[in-house]
Point group: C2
Chain length 144, copies 2
DNA sequence: CGATCATATGATACTTAGTCTCATCTTTTA
DNA sequence: TAAAAGATGAGACTAAGTATCATATGATCG
């Protein structure tokens, strides 16, 4: 089953492939994103890279979003979060207690979603799905 | 099958049931929402109700969101939109061409989503799902 | 190498969506 | 009718992100 996980695309190569220059500031942003846990904010990145301008951070984020190697999570309430995509197509889990973000894939869902098109007026061109959870750690945590 | 569609809750009664006063400004907002097509912005409401303060519009929207009779749609890109909920639990379609928003329910999905919990570490407390489509009207529209 | 031109950067102003504050007004209740 | 609770609205503030534009960087050609 290990072979079924597609290799994660390298954000730097993806940008180059798209004809963008791989400059110092862009490298810094990408290197930091790579070290980050999932579910960080754009402003986090700005603060941790004082040498890179805010505009450049946001511009790089946008390039990566457009290229599909970065996900923007619209949480039900609160600030948007970002997370480098680990696998190609996936969905997210979001712990409503600790805010932890996870990725998952389920081929059954994907198959079902494809068949559901029949019930919808129009042509389906994409979808998004998120699960709100209480994660393992929060379930096991001493109450408080 | 008609009987299977639950009656749409009346936003005004829902607010009263929750212990909020049904004041003039709140009535105005609710009456306008009710006349609106799906997929309007909060600022639309402010502009169309110059007699009601911005803060009150946003406060009323928040109350209705909390009560579950109004949906906030986080579109993949662009401004958030609102839409009065027509049925209890549902998902949205969003036409990527014209921006039209629709609601749908599918019990197969709901059943599947419940079973998928087994594969996810933690307890699922909710979900969100959206389909991006090209709607019937846009498919049939003269090209361009 | 150096000139040239496209591209990228960063400081900063601006925009959008929404919240907060607080003095005033309205409603409820006693 | 007086007091208390709740709601309102003007406007200040915040957070997330975009636009502007002068400067800097880097690729390409001679
Ligand atoms: Zn993702
Ligand atoms: Zn999917
Ligand atoms: Zn809805
Ligand atoms: Zn559902």
């Amino acid at each position: 089953m290990i072979a079924s996980r597609p290799a994660r695309p390298d954000p730097a190569s993806v940008l180059e492939d798209r004809g963008y220059r791989l400059t110092g500031p862009r490298r810094s942003v990408i290197r930091l994103l790579d070290r980050k846990e999932e579910g960080f904010s754009a402003e986090d990145i700005c603060e941790e890279l004082p040498g890179v301008g805010r505009a450049t951070v946001y511009r790089t984020i946008r390039l990566l979003l457009d290229a599909g190697v970065l996900c923007k999570l619209a949480l039900p309430d609160g600030a948007p979060k970002y997370s480098l995509a680990r696998v190609e197509h996936h969905h997210h889990t979001f712990c409503v207690t600790c805010g932890n973000v996870g990725e998952f894939r389920d081929t059954t869902i994907e198959r079902l979603l494809r068949t559901i098109g029949a019930d919808i007026a129009g042509e389906i061109v994409g979808h998004r799905m998120e699960f709100y959870i209480v994660c393992r750690a929060c379930l096991e945590a001493p109450e408080r």
